[in-house]
Structures are given as structure tokens and as C-alpha cells.
Symmetry: C2
DNA sequence: CACCAAATTGGTAGCGCTGCCAAAAAAACC
DNA sequence: GGTTTTTTTGGCAGCGCTACCAATTTGGTG
């Protein structure tokens, strides 16, 4: 694998080049049409226009027509900033997520975004990189937009974050975890149960010398919960974890591959390895493919997440499939409906696959 | 691969269950602290508080302390909705993206989000599902938030979208494409060049009987551009495309696998296959693994995107690596700097890999 | 045609903050 | 000490819209 060359003119990081065209175009905001102007043009009052546009309150058919005509003619676009300020409660929903590299979060956003768009809500987001301090800062910044709800990953937040969210008066949804006390609404599944069932499955299949390959557990606390209950279950069945390899940094296929390589270098007689998630597990799978390690006869592999790609490899990956998109959907539905505080358990599905 | 059971209490899709706890908690917005209250508490004027908080204009050290103390004591959180309305120009940046399933877009968001957060901008997004009509509707909804900029994928938009964006007066950034006329700013690379170079590479390697497996081209116009210039290049070298298999729906590993299977069923004597992207190519790769088709001696595989996973499989995938994160970063930087209209070519990198 | 209820409509006070301007206080200077 | 500058301050008019309320029109009734 060789990087041959960079192509097509510009190089990344170079000062941007300008296209030949219109360099002197608009730079500042041009005067924008307001509700008052529409009202004037339509020959009606401001509140009437507002009512027509929101289809709220009563107005006659011909008033409606005149207003819509004026809106069309002037190219009016309502200003939701002003609307939100004037009314009570915004239609913004804030997502404070750990990462966009881990497909889990785009999946959640995808589910939520579909529901929110249908209900004319707007999603805003920021990324914490799994840093609780950054989470606090970003949550604070989010609250400044007075969202209808803030959605966060899991239950582990700084005191400051919790205090702020409590005081904010907006809905709080904690996602993808159920092992802990919810601030308001929680939607997800139990990571402890997932760890437990993964262990139980491997034991049931007769594996006894089990190892673990994972990524940074202090940051990804949900992975940490899976791992600890996985170990507890092994202990309870008298087959304690034989070896572990924890890699710095985020989960990735490459880290999974590297992790398994290192683990086996130290402890070669394992019969199964539990990975912190499917990305890592795929790395392990590829390592075995490349090294000619027979799966699952020589070594079994078990992941977590149930990514689609796990079903497309020659031997379907044994894993636990989590309802990530549904988590986003349900969370959004509850927010839209202003549902009472509750914890919703979406469960998960154990996929037996062919690797364990 | 068998789905054994759903676990841990709840079932997905079932009516949400309530946790035993506090069902009667807060439902409506609690009174929130305003700037005026802080001013009162600190014994200064409103504008003074505003100046201190934004660190703008002048004020004495002790005034600053008193204000900050009051802010702390009351737990004041500035209201950016009001702030934005009162000032000129918002710090919202709107992303109207085709998909969150295709990793390309989370990658772009990731790059952009980092830069935006540093500059105290806020990202908002919505997802079009590659539907130009939906793009128009969502762009309109976005403009209602009076963003500083709207970021879209590519150049193919409806007339209505273009008109609206032009009239909006806000900055427009078109991402991931360079083959067309930009409305304002464009950041990306040439998909046509990518298609051309992919073809040139395969030809240079001596492949002559080349096929294509792709996903829905009408929707993903950038993939369409790559494909058409790929074909033109083959034609120009007297080795026209031998066969193609276009699958409905989004790109996925499974579709790639299925596509190659179908393609080979019809045309078995190909020596190389070009895929619409790496997801599809990985599917093809796995198909070959499963069927024992030797790569690249019996069949070569070439992708597009340069996903990390392509480097972790036993034979690194031959592909073109695109600067997705950088695209987001540069785009965000240009917006933050209010740069003049321009087209920035970030180029791409051809990875020779081991599959072609 | 007078009279009352229902359906429409317009006026206007904010929503919480910023930007401008003039007033007040502090510092510098003669 | 008296000015002139410079630095700090507070007041207040909006930003564009919604919510409330009162005014007006419409429609029906007796």
C-alpha cells in the first residue's frame, strides 16, 4: 500500500485559491423581509399574518390567500430566532455527543433527526470527544440556545453538568445506557446486561480461556460497564478472564487488530476473545484471517453493536445488536410529546453469528 | 447467524414503560434568570453586564468581579436567542446533508464541528436522504434560523433551493465536489478527476476487462460523476466498461457483496471491478474471500473514499482517499473568517493497496 | 331591523439582549 | 485647583415575532 500522489491541483492545508469568478459579491447581510412588511403588502395586521403562517387561531379563506400571495411575492422567510424569543419554549433539540467517528452516534442522530424533522424541530449538536469537562462546557453553550431538550450519552456527567441541566428547566434525555439514575428521561439498554449475556453466551458455548481487547475505558464508560459485568459473570462461573489488552485512544478496526496481536503474543492459548465493540472485533477477525488462525475452532471472537458489516464478512460476526437508530427515534418522540420522566429499555439482541 | 432473543426487559417498539420514580416532576419552563436580574443583583446597568460577559467594550476590574459574582450566584445562562436577535448576524451554521449512514458526512461534520466550537459557533443539521425536494424544504427551514452559513453537499440543487439561498444573503458552502459552478464557496475535490484517475490506474496495471458495481446514481450525483468520467477514460483507452451492476438504495457492504455476486454471475471473465465507494468495495472483497476468488490475480478491486477499515483487512484496499474531515475543517474556517467566494481544491490521494 | 353570539382582525406589550449615545467618573495635564 | 482627556457607565430603542385582549365584522335570530 503506497500513497502515490496528491491530485487535482490544490493541496490540503494550502492557502485557499480563489476561483476566477465574482470575488466581490455580497459580504454582509442584505435587508431581509419582515412580518410587518408582509402585513403591509397584504393589507392586513401583523398578528393576522402570524396566525395564517402558523395556521393557528382563525382567519378567513381570502385573508389566507392574500397573505400567502404577499409571502410568495416578497419571498418572506419567517425568522425563527424572533419567533422563539417571543414565544415560550423553542423547537431546538441539543445533542451533546462524545464522538462522530463511532458510528453509534450518527446512528442515534439519524433516528432522532427523522422524528424531529417531521415535527418541525431543529437538531443542534456538539462533540465532546468523551471529555466530561468539555461536555460541561458544551452543555452550557447549548443551554444558551434555550433548547426544548438536551440529549447526552449515558449517565456519567460532572457535578457541574448535572447542576446546570437540573437548573435549566429543559428536558434532559440520557441515551444508550440504563445502568444508573436518570436525570429525567433515559432511553437505551443495559450495558451491564449486555456484558453479562456476552459472557454467558461464550461460557455456554464451552469457551473457558477468555481474553478481552478494548479501547479506553475511562472515557467510554458504557464499554467499561460491559467489561466489568462481563468479568463478573466469568468469575461467577469460575472461568475468570485470562488476559486483557486495553489500547489507548478510540476504538477502531486497526486498534482491534493490533490489540489482538498483542494479546496473543502474550497469551497464546486463549480460546475466545471479547472485544469492546464490533470495530475492534473486526480488527481481530482480520488479524486471524491474515494469520491463518481458524475461527472459531482455534479462537472465537465476540463483539458488540451489531454493525451491518459484521454480517457481510465471510463468517458473520457473533455480537450483540443494539437498537441505536431506535434509541434516537424514541428519545425524539418522547421529547416531542413532552412525556413524563421515565426510563425506556429498548433491549438488545444477541446475534450468534459464526465467529463464536 | 441466528437472532436468539431480545433481552433485558423492554422490547423495541413497545410502548415506553415508566420507571417507578418521580413521574410528577417539572413539565414547564421554570423562571429563568435574565440579564436584567444579574444587573440588579450586581448593582450595575444591563449594558455593563452585557459588556463584561462578552468581554467587549471597557469596564473596570471590580465591576467585572461584581458582575461575575452575581452571574455565579444566580446561575445565569445568557440567552443566545435574544442575543442573536438583537445583534447582527448569528453564530449558527446550518448543515443540510444527504445522509448520516454514509460515513462521509459524519466525517465532514466532525471536521467542521471542531473548528466551529473553537470559534463559539453552533452547528445545526438536517438530513435530506439524497432527496433534492427534501433538501429544498430543509434548506428553507434552516434559513429561518438566520444562520451565518448553510453548508450543502455538492452542486446539484433544485431551482428553488438556489433561488432561496441566493436571496438569503447568508454564506453558502457547497462541499465534496468541484465539478460545477459554486454559488459562493466550494470546498472539496473533483469527483471527475477521481473517476479518471481510478480508471487510469487500473489500465496502467494492465486490467482491460473492467466492470462496475454501484449504488443509486441519480441520488448520489457525486458517485455518478466518478462513474461517468471513469467510463470516459476507459473508452479513451479502448477498453470500454464490460459490465455494470447498479443496486437500488444506499451504498452498503452488503449491497457491494450482492452486486459483485450478480455481476460475476452474468459476466464471469472480468479482471477488475470498480466500486462506487469503499463500503461497496469491501462487500466485493468479502465476496471474493468467501468464494475463494483470488485477489488481485483473478479479480482486482478498487474503491473510493479511503476508509480506515480498508487498511486493516488482510489485503489493503486499493482506493482513493478523500480529505473528508479536512473538507469540513476548511469549510468552517472560511465561514468563520467570512472569506470571499472561492473554490478550494483539497485534492485526493490514490492508495495503491493490494487489491488492484 | 334590533340584538346577541361567533368568527375575524388589529393593536400593542413584551421576549432578553445588543448597540448607540450621552452622562458620569477617573485620570492626566497645565 | 481647574481643565481636558480618557475610561466607565447607564438608559433606552429596537431586533422580529407571538400572545393577549379589545375592537370589528359576520351571521343568525326573534
Amino acid at each position: 500500500m503506497v500513497a502515490t500522489r496528491w491530485s487535482s491541483g490544490g493541496q490540503a492545508g494550502q492557502p485557499p485559491q480563489q476561483s476566477g469568478s465574482n470575488v466581490t459579491m455580497e459580504f454582509k447581510h442584505q435587508p431581509t423581509v419582515t412580518l410587518a412588511e408582509v402585513a403591509e403588502a397584504a393589507g392586513v395586521g401583523e398578528s393576522t399574518v402570524s396566525r395564517v403562517l402558523r395556521n393557528h387561531g382563525s382567519f378567513s379563506g381570502k385573508t389566507r390567500e392574500r397573505v400567502m400571495a404577499a409571502v410568495e411575492r416578497l419571498g418572506y422567510v419567517p425568522n425563527r430566532i424572533a419567533g422563539t424569543l417571543a414565544s415560550t419554549g423553542s423547537r431546538l433539540v441539543a445533542f451533546v455527543i462524545p464522538s462522530l467517528s463511532n458510528i453509534v452516534f450518527p446512528d442515534v442522530l439519524r433516528g432522532a433527526s427523522a422524528v424531529l424533522e417531521e415535527n418541525r424541530y431543529q437538531a443542534v449538536f456538539s462533540v465532546t470527544d468523551y471529555d466530561p469537562g468539555k461536555e460541561e462546557a458544551l452543555a452550557a453553550a447549548m443551554l444558551a440556545w434555550r433548547p426544548a431538550a438536551v440529549m447526552l450519552a449515558g449517565f456519567e456527567h460532572t457535578e457541574g453538568t448535572v447542576k446546570m441541566l437540573r437548573a435549566s428547566g429543559c428536558r434532559v434525555v440520557e441515551l444508550l445506557d440504563l445502568d444508573g439514575d436518570a436525570l429525567d428521561i433515559a432511553v437505551g439498554f443495559s450495558n451491564r446486561a449486555a456484558g453479562r449475556e456476552s459472557a454467558a453466551f461464550l461460557l455456554k458455548r464451552g469457551y473457558r480461556r477468555i481474553g478481552y481487547v478494548g479501547h479506553d475505558l475511562k472515557r467510554d464508560t458504557r464499554a467499561g460497564k460491559r467489561f466489568s459485568s462481563f468479568c463478573e459473570t466469568l468469575d461467577a462461573h469460575d472461568a475468570p478472564l485470562v488476559a486483557r489488552e486495553i489500547l489507548e485512544g478510540a476504538s477502531s478496526v486497526e486498534n482491534g487488530r493490533l490489540g489482538l496481536e498483542r494479546l496473543l503474543a502474550r497469551t497464546s492459548d486463549l480460546d475466545a476473545v471479547y472485544f469492546s465493540n464490533d470495530d475492534m472485533a473486526l480488527g481481530g477477525y482480520f488479524h486471524c484471517l491474515a494469520e491463518g488462525i481458524a475461527i472459531p475452532s482455534k479462537l472465537a471472537i465476540f463483539g458488540y453493536n451489531g454493525l451491518d458489516i459484521g454480517r457481510a464478512i465471510p463468517q458473520p460476526l457473533s455480537t450483540i445488536r443494539t437498537p441505536r437508530v431506535a434509541t434516537g427515534q424514541i428519545a425524539a418522540q418522547l421529547v416531542v410529546a413532552n412525556a413524563p420522566p421515565q426510563a425506556v429499555d429498548l433491549g438488545f439482541e444477541l446475534i450468534e453469528g459464526a465467529t463464536a
